[in-house]
Amino acid sequence: MLQTIRDRAQGWIAWVIVILISIPFALWGIQSYLGVGGEPIAATVNGVELPARELDRRVQQARTELRQRLGAAYDPAEIDDKALRDEVLEDMIRETLLLDEVRRLGLRVSNQDVQIQILLDPAFQKDGRFDKETYERLLQYQGMSPAMYEAQLRQRLAAGQLARAISASALATSDELEQYQRLIGQQRELSYSTLALSDYQTDASVDDAEITAFYEANSDSFRSPEQVKLDYLLLDSTDLAAATEVTEEDLRNVYAAEQARFAQPERREVRHILLKVPEDAEQSDVDAVAEKIKGIRERILAGESFDALAKEVSEDPGSASKGGSLGMIESGIMVPAFDQVAFAAEPGKLSEPVRTQFGYHLIEVTKVVPAQIKPFEEVEDELRAGAAKQGADRLYYDLGERLANISYESSDSLEPAAEELGLSIQHSDWIGRDGGGDGILAQPKVIAAAFSDDVLGQGLNSDLIEPERDRLQAIVLRVAEHREASVKPLAEVRDEIVAQIKQQRAKEAAKTAAESLAEQLRQSKEWATVDPELEITSPGLVGRNAPEVPRGVLDVAFKLAAPSDGSISVGTATLDNGDAAVVRLSRVQDGEVKPSEDGRPATEVYILTQLMGRQLSDDMLQDMESRADIERMNMGGEDGL
């Protein structure tokens, strides 16, 4: 039979079979080259693919950074996911483009430069020196081998080289510097007169047609925002603790079980006299001190008062003045040699001299309080609070879980959960997207949930929300009432409109008056001939940012055409507070031109070159982008976050 197979295997049928079998082997894995069914791609830049996964990672990272930067002000609902995603994608595209361009141009950084960069990176240093272990471990964290990291670093350094070549080579021509200094340092001689808005306010009535017209033209500014009223169930472990009953029997059990916590060891009231022995004392000196303390002991035994002698001779500055008293001590507080004697001695009996590292002591125990256990009555309140808190926390987690389940299962009402768990449904007032509630209802997470699609759009219960992680507080809410953003009715805002119209009229009147005044000034040139009564402010020659001159006046004064010799320029301004002003410009003086300071280029050179250098780097990228082959895949913004 084998012979038959051999014979047949030579025929054409065998070849067909072999070819059929080899096709799958030959094509195996080819999809990863063709990009068919492979990893989803966010964009391609000159043929380089940016994986969607990397984009997701960076969006996540950007969000984390945002959260850290904004802190408590961070509100996930306020962040436009699509915009953030687009922004991150554009960054990635530009980065990839730059790296690709650098590779295409053939920019290259030497091994030595890469090495130096790594050696100097503080992230890889331990105790101020490069540490190979740290280096490898850090890379491993990021899932990179040293070779991969070095290749990446090399690319980045090369890209930096290109950017630097452009920004560091920026120059400011002598002409530009001169012009800049002249303009920035320019001063103008001016005087002005203000016409107070209040002088142009009249009591003339405003008619209804005007009010209606104003209301219709400015309806946007009378909008009230979209608001909801909420029903909610609140679970708060503080409330639960207050309501938790703890029986005395339970407390006694805890008391018995934790006896050690309430034990009070033996305490003794001790007094002593110390004669110091320096650490490096000669033996003869030590002996002398020993003799001396013996003498003191004799004197006490002979009837002298311990108290008085301590004050007289003790060299322990803390206790000497108190007659040597150390107060109540527990065993283990003093140095061992002292401790041993103090806790062995009979009360009222003077010890032999005791040698410690400080010197020689005479010790006397004056009182002994035996070891005891705090009675139950003394610790009952403490125990009760602890037990209540513990019980409440346990109850909180238990109720929280059940609340989440029930409100999810019957998601069109809070009643079942309230009944089951013995909670009462609470009602809020109107709350907008920008807050309006207080307490837990002011939390961004709660507001975001209230306006979410599930809760507001579909009328379901929210999930269980715990706005602050370390505070045991949870809420489930649903929307009870909803009101769309709307324009407030005319009747409600009528007074406001009247006031605004009057204000506007006064402004216009003041402006008209200012203009006619300006016209007269143009004719007569001098304030005095226009009206000697006018109140004139003359700050004289001032710079662009003179703090004493109102912003509106400065803006006009520095825009007026420079007057030729002997003539003036006149303009009118409206100030922030609505007052009008007439501005008279008599002279323009350009800033001083200083090409260099002490042999160094002027500061302005750095300002100019930095601005231009940065802009040109951006322009270059933009230029490259316009020439590059960039394809952005349209993704439905998978947002599993």
């Binding site: 141009l105 920019l107 030497s110 430069d113 040109l616 322009d619």
Partner: protein
């Protein structure tokens, strides 16, 4: 073809080898040689580029110093051009050198370096940057026609339109054509020039009869 026995098959193989063996061995040797040669060549290119990069870094450091030494920089630029002409570094080096030369008061050397930066530019964007600087130096030197020509030849990318418009505004202002200057400045601000705030001041400062 079919073979009756194994001996016949071996015979056939031997015969085939006798006829084609030399070409097979030759092919393999040639292939290996090509791979090896290619790696040698790319390795060489890499090391040339790395050397050029170091040479450029030296030039850049010199050029960014507080008071650059024009002679040393000229020498370094020459080295880049003669030794590393195949790399992008002479173009970048010329940009750096131009700045240093201009700062040292050697205006004609600076314009020459910028001309070189334009012709050696490894990327069109770099040529445009060099041209922009060239036009501005020409303007400062009062060579208005030359500046205008430089701008006309290189203002072809939307990305740099704002910067070039600002230069056109300066040229027009120098010629006293106030309305053209105003229009060009406005265009520059709109197209995102780096110095839009300064341009505003320039517009405000133009004499009134615009």
């Amino acid at each position: 073809m079919t073979y009756e026995t194994d001996e016949e098959k071996v015979e056939a193989l031997k015969k085939w080898w006798k006829e084609n063996g030399l070409s097979v061995v030759g092919g393999v040797v040639l292939g290996l040689g090509a791979i090896y040669g290619w790696r040698l060549w790319t390795g060489h290119q890499e090391s040339v580029a790395a050397q050029a990069s170091s040479a450029f870094e030296q030039l850049a450091t010199n050029a960014s110093a507080g008071s650059p030494q024009p002679d040393a920089i000229a020498k370094q630029l020459q080295l880049l051009e003669s030794e590393f002409g195949s790399t992008p570094y002479p173009g970048l080096g010329a940009l750096m050198a131009a700045k240093a030369m201009y700062q040292a008061g050697k205006t004609s050397e600076a314009t020459a370096a910028l001309q070189k930066a334009i012709s050696d530019a490894p990327d069109p964007a770099l040529a445009r940057i060099a041209a922009l600087r060239l036009a501005r130096i020409q303007l400062a030197e009062g060579e208005l026609d030359a500046a205008e020509k430089t701008v006309r030849e290189h203002d072809i990318s939307a990305a740099f339109a704002g910067e070039f418009a600002a230069v056109r505004g300066d040229i027009a202002a120098k010629r006293g054509d106030l309305s053209a200057a105003r229009a060009a400045y406005e265009e520059a601000i709109e197209k995102g020039s780096a110095l839009s705030q300064l341009l505003r001041l320039k517009i405000d400062n133009l004499p009134a009869a615009g």
